[in-house]
Amino acid sequence: MPGSSERLRNAMNIQANPTLTAAETALIDAFAARLSELPGDAAVMLRRDEAVERIKAGLPNRRVEAWHYTDLRRLLATVPPFDPAGDARPLSPLVEGSAVLPLLNGTATAAPVTVEGVAVEALPDLLADGRYAPALALAERDDAVGAINAAFVADGRAVEVAEGAEIARPIEVQNVVGAGQSHVRLPVRVGANARVTLVERQAGAAGGFATSVSSLTVGEGAEVLWVIVQERAADAAYLGQFNATIAKGGRLTLFFMNIGGKLVRQEVKVTAEGEACEFRLRGVNLLAGETHCDVTMVLDHLGYGATSTEVVRNIVLDRAHGVFQGQIRVAREAQKTDAKMACNTLLLSDEGEFSTKPELEIFADDVACGHGATVAEIDADHLFYLMARGIPEKEARGLLVKAFLAEVIEELDDEALVTALEERLNDWFAEHG
């Protein structure tokens, strides 16, 4: 029988990873090298130090529950060096006429466009005077995305939408990275009864590594549509985190489309805080090649009578691996919660894989919560019907796969956005047949 001190040592050995991976070493070294350039007052730098300690303790592996299907330690084997001069150019916006905020290789390049009712601040200012320090605090031990980002974040935009403002133009943030690294933050506050659409583009060239953390506050009665389009190069790594809190009567629709990347983790952490607020998550994952794409959602229902619906649709080709983890936690006070979650996958290759993990944790007794997950192939009856009208098999299959995804996209109540997203869909199919 080992003594208690020995048991303790063994327990600690599980936490402390004696050998760091190439990626962990590179991140730690890069932090030391960049320390003098990173913006921030003493409070911010303290947060950065704490974040680097997390990296030193080792990136999460599959034994950490939240990372069970995405062994970050193994999958993020290396990271590229920072390359501020890398090839990263602004994109044409998803919807014409959008107010664009470009972040190229992790740096805001242009003065923000002025939109009435919207105030934009540069993140370095908030870091320099420490106003942003509290936001860099890491809560959960398994928050690796937050940790890497907090250590390195050097730029971003803080957006504030005035109370009652109705912003007609979408605001589009473009996070484009070349072959180097980019770590940005995007805090957004939407005032009471305001309405706004935000588009978050995550794009970039071969080999890049990027993290992006956004935190949104939806004010009372406000209505926000937030669209994430992740279209990175096929060998790029991307870790994203979307945090939101919704106040009383507020409505948030988060739409995501993952169409690129080699290693992708998109975290969604939402708190339905206010009474009768509403959260909708709609997303499509188009997975091909060697992509590993993980969408992990944690939704906390705190407010009375709030509703949430989540619909995620995936198609898997080649040797791609997709993951959807959806956790809904309903607090004791959150009576009359109505929460429904669905994850449907079309598996179009024998070597593809999709892992789904729905979780409901309910502490209130008067709620309606449900979840469903399906993995299927193309419906043979539907295929026969289309072919019986003269549509050749390949085209008929394509139509059905697109239809499966378009159903989710078309729920968005914005014609210009729907058209733009469907064009992306068509481009992707043209590329992947």
Binding site: F384, A388, G390, I391, P392, E393, F404
Partner: protein, 251 residues
């Protein structure tokens, strides 16, 4: 136009034989009714003509304009001019009806080496066809057959038939689930398609539809075979005496 010789077919999955030595000839310009009790193989025959993979032809031949169609997939058969109006048209969420019509029409044109339709020409054809079927164009913006009533689905089938202009039309229990007004509209739609170079095969359990689409020939299907052939009088006889008499005669 259509010649079926000693056709034997079974359900691919479990090997149950459904069609057992069926012979049938339908000439261009002819309207043929195929009648029979439940389980006689009527719907199976329609699916086999359209090329559904759930059935396996083990013996015999289907010739369409003298050419065997057994090796053709459903899309090839459709492009050659064979059309099946489904008994239960499938609901396909996410595929807008209008888009579906355009893709179907242009796929068939492409297979025949014709240019795709220009948008105004396509719209004009759709508008004309919907008008004659008393259909609302707004319906076509909806996903294919999703939320359509039984009658709307059948009308949508006839609309597709009008637009695709097939040479051989097979209508599987088109009258089921239709009230009398809808039945008249659908029958008018079919009658308008009668032409010297087109054959129409109407599969039905009841004689009712044949009051509105008067057939040239009537064939009684029983246990996977055509057991009796006659003119429209045969349908009336069936209505009066039931299948038992005819089938008993054959057995």
């Amino acid at each position: 136009m259509l010649e079926i010789r000693n056709l034997h077919a079974r359900i691919a999955e479990d090997g149950t034989e459904i069609i057992r030595g069926l012979n049938l000839t339908v000439k261009a310009g002819e309207v043929a009714a195929i009648m029979g009790p439940n389980g006689s193989g009527k719907s199976t025959l329609s699916y086999i003509l359209a090329g559904r993979e759930d059935y396996e032809v083990t013996e015999g031949e289907i010739l369409y304009n003298g050419e065997s169609i057994l090796e053709m997939d459903p899309a090839e058969r459709a492009a050659k001019g064979i059309f099946l109006a489904f008994q239960y048209p499938m609901e396909i969420p996410g595929v807008a009806t209008m888009e579906f019509l355009k893709v179907a029409m242009n796929s068939q044109r492409k297979a025949r080496g014709e240019e795709p339709l220009k948008v105004p020409d396509f719209l004009k054809r759709v508008r004309e066809a919907t008008g004659s079927l008393q259909m609302n164009m707004d319906m076509l913006k909806r996903p294919l057959n999703v939320g359509f009533s039984g009658g709307e689905k059948k009308r949508a089938e006839i609309l597709q038939m009008k637009l695709l202009e097939p040479r051989l039309c097979v209508l599987d229990e088109t009258d089921s689930g239709l009230d009398i007004d809808a039945l008249k509209v659908v029958a008018d739609g079919v009658n308008a398609l009668r032409a010297p170079d087109r054959a129409i095969v109407i599969i039905t359990h009841y004689q009712r539809l044949l009051d509105y689409i008067v057939p040239d020939t009537v064939h009684v299907l029983y246990r996977g075979q055509v057991v009796k052939t006659g003119d429209k009088g045969l349908a009336l006889e069936l209505e009066k005496n039931g299948y038992a008499g005819v089938v008993g005669e054959a057995a």
